[in-house]
């Protein structure tokens, strides 16, 4: 367990316990939502995830988050612990969580810039597969189409691979269709490039 994860655990426990102690005490709706978000933030971070395999949620399109929480709840998308987390959510809960995470600050890449050769290969792939058509010129998404820029690299790679294998059936099959044409090397390049935007 890395340093960041350990801090995340401590924070997560503290937040969750704090909320438990608060019980059903009346609070302003915004404050209540922040408390309900605490377990999410424990893994996903306050916008940018520091946890391997766990996506950043900041600035994510709320309509997209609704479809994903819905798919977790309905077991259409398998991803522990999200299936258990979402199991008891009402439709209103889905919307409330989606609106709350959408308001978190969007992730931004802070490491060294992508190498020019990678940029060239990946931009050709983005053009060939028309990623911008749905995800937008800046890959920040719109409506039910997700923000992917500056998402965690290994999460992007796993998403593309599982769309390609159909292990992850999209809410809409658009990504299952487009991913069929991606090689393993294409997936590596796309994930590395998009993560560094």
């Amino acid at each position: 367990m890395g340093h960041a994860a350990r801090i995340g655990l401590i924070r997560g426990l503290a937040s969750a316990l704090g909320v438990l102690l608060a019980g059903a005490a009346l609070a302003a709706p915004e404050a209540a939502m922040q408390e309900r978000l605490a377990p999410c933030v424990a893994c996903h971070g306050g916008g940018t995830s520091e946890t391997e395999g766990v996506p950043s949620l900041g600035g994510q399109q709320a309509d997209y988050v609704v479809t994903q929480l819905f798919q977790f709840r309905e077991k259409q998308r398998a991803a522990e612990p999200m299936n258990d987390v979402a199991a008891g959510f009402s439709d209103d809960d889905l919307r409330a969580y989606a609106d709350a995470v959408a308001a978190l600050p969007a992730p931004a890449w802070s490491g060294p810039a992508a190498e020019p050769a990678l940029v060239a290969r990946a931009q050709a792939l983005v053009s060939k597969h028309q990623c911008n058509s749905c995800h937008g010129a800046d890959l920040a998404g719109r409506e039910a189409i997700p923000r992917i820029r500056a998402q965690r690299e290994e999460y992007l790679a796993r998403s593309l691979a599982s769309y390609k294998s159909n292990a992850r059936p999209g809410y809409d099959p658009a990504m299952n269709e487009v991913a069929q044409g991606l090689s393993d090397a294409d997936i590596r390049d796309l994930a590395a490039y998009v993560a560094r935007l």
């Binding site: 059903a24 309900r36 377990p39 946890t51 258990d84 059936p169």
Partner: protein
């Protein structure tokens, strides 16, 4: 805002722990619930052409267009766009049922129970015929966790449900609306492509099951197994291809006079804002006709890529044109007694509405009146108002002539069923 409650908190804490490696949930149990979409597509398909975006010109305004997936949550009854909907003089439109997220194809049992399939939420619903004291009809979920169960057909007490690549039969469905009945597999010799893989199904006057297999992409040379309609015995045997060159039909019905199969077909994308039209087709010689795809579209337009060396005269021309990119889906002949005589044997067509067009078109129910020659010169609006300021307030998917002669219309964007009636 939902009050903070202990179960959610406990679950949240468990999630935080599980995330960091202290979880108690069994990964194997989770995998067992995983919904496998399909295996790899057939090797003969140019797979990178499976995308809905294949064929799009580079850059420009075309890059702003993308398919629109409706939300997974149904719109609350009070927020449905009923006040925006318009029908001709003398007709009335009302909400028949709400709360059916992603409501798609419909079929009705003789007792009035309405069955409704879905494309994105994996569920099949039953709407009970009698409204409760609050005026609302109860909606039951009879199956969930299915893979794109778009097609439903009721026949002799059983409900047939078409997933992407499997067709099931739920026997004695009226007594199993709680979902307890395990279905029997009818037919699964079907491709698993996601592109145009969801299915409309119906049982014809010949007591056979009609099943389309769409083209595995926008514009591709389809393998022999695709871009067709099949006819199958109700036990799943004796499948035969009865129509070829069909890109993607999501609605069909039989002409009550001729007993011939009429079907809608969605035209290809990305050639132009204004062509090709979606088609309304008639099958007159089962097994012998080719309806053009991918060589010829709308009966008059050879494909810029696949049309070379061909003439549209080689293919069966459509009986009617339904507008470019309108996504003409469900269609039924009007066989009821409630509407005026001018609607007798007319065809109602649900146009889901375009995405591959800057100025949206469709998002309505139109009516077509075939002439003595079997051709449709024009369609006229019937139920409109779903398209407001180039945005969808709702999207019609299927039409069904109800037992009482009214017309039911499903809306997958809002998860609702509307009822259009006359003179009551």
């Amino acid at each position: 805002m939902t009050p903070v409650t202990k179960p959610i908190l406990t679950r949240g804490l468990a999630a935080a722990l599980a995330c960091l490696g202290f979880g108690t949930a069994s990964p194997d149990a989770v995998r067992a619930q995983e919904t496998k979409a399909s295996s790899a597509p057939p090797a003969s398909v140019q797979v990178d052409r499976g995308s809905a975006l294949y064929g799009r010109p580079e850059g420009g305004d075309a890059a702003k267009l993308a398919p629109v997936a409706g939300p997974p949550l149904a719109t609350a009854a009070a927020k449905l766009p009923l006040d925006k909907l318009k029908v001709p003089e003398g007709f009335k439109v009302e909400v028949y049922a709400s709360g059916l997220a992603n409501a798609r194809s419909m079929t009705q049992a003789p007792d009035g129970t309405l069955f409704v399939g879905t494309r994105t939420v994996g569920k099949v619903y039953a709407v009970l015929p009698q409204a409760g004291p609050d005026g609302k009809r109860e909606v039951k979920t009879i199956a969930s966790g299915l893979h794109r169960p778009n097609g439903v057909a009721f026949h002799e007490g059983a409900l047939y449900v078409a997933e992407l690549s499997k067709i099931w039969r739920y026997d004695d469905i009226a007594n199993h609306l709680d979902g307890s009945e395990k279905p029997s597999l009818v037919y699964d010799d079907l491709p698993k492509d996601e592109a145009h893989g969801w299915k409309f199904i119906a049982i014809g006057p010949d007591n056979k099951l009609y099943v389309p297999v769409g083209a595995p992409g926008n514009i591709v040379m389809p393998p022999d197994t695709h871009a067709q309609i099949r006819r199958i015995d109700l036990d799943g045997k004796n499948a035969e291809v009865i129509a070829r060159g069909v890109r993607n039909t999501v609605g069909f019905d039989w002409n009550p006079k001729t007993k011939q199969l009429w079907f809608t077909d969605n035209g290809r994308d990305w050639v132009s804002e204004d062509i090709p039209n979606d088609e309304l087709n008639v099958l007159t010689e089962p097994g012998k006709q080719h309806f053009g795809y991918p060589f010829c579209h709308q009966g008059t337009f050879t494909d810029p890529e696949y049309g070379w060396g061909h003439s549209c005269a080689e293919f069966t021309a459509p009986a009617g044109l339904l507008g470019p990119h309108t996504a003409s889906l469900g269609m039924r002949f009007y066989t009821g007694a409630q509407f005026p005589d001018s609607y007798k044997d007319a065809v109602f067509i649900a146009r889901h509405g375009s995405w591959n067009r800057t100025t949206k078109l469709g998002g309505d129910v139109v009516v077509a009146r075939p002439g003595p020659d079997g051709k449709v010169a024009a369609v006229e609006p019937f139920l409109t108002g779903f398209l407001q300021d180039n945005k969808y307030a709702g999207r019609p998917v299927d039409v069904l002539v109800a037992k009482d002669g009214s017309l039911l219309v499903s809306d997958d964007y809002n998860g609702a069923i509307y009822r259009v009636s006359y003179g009551q």
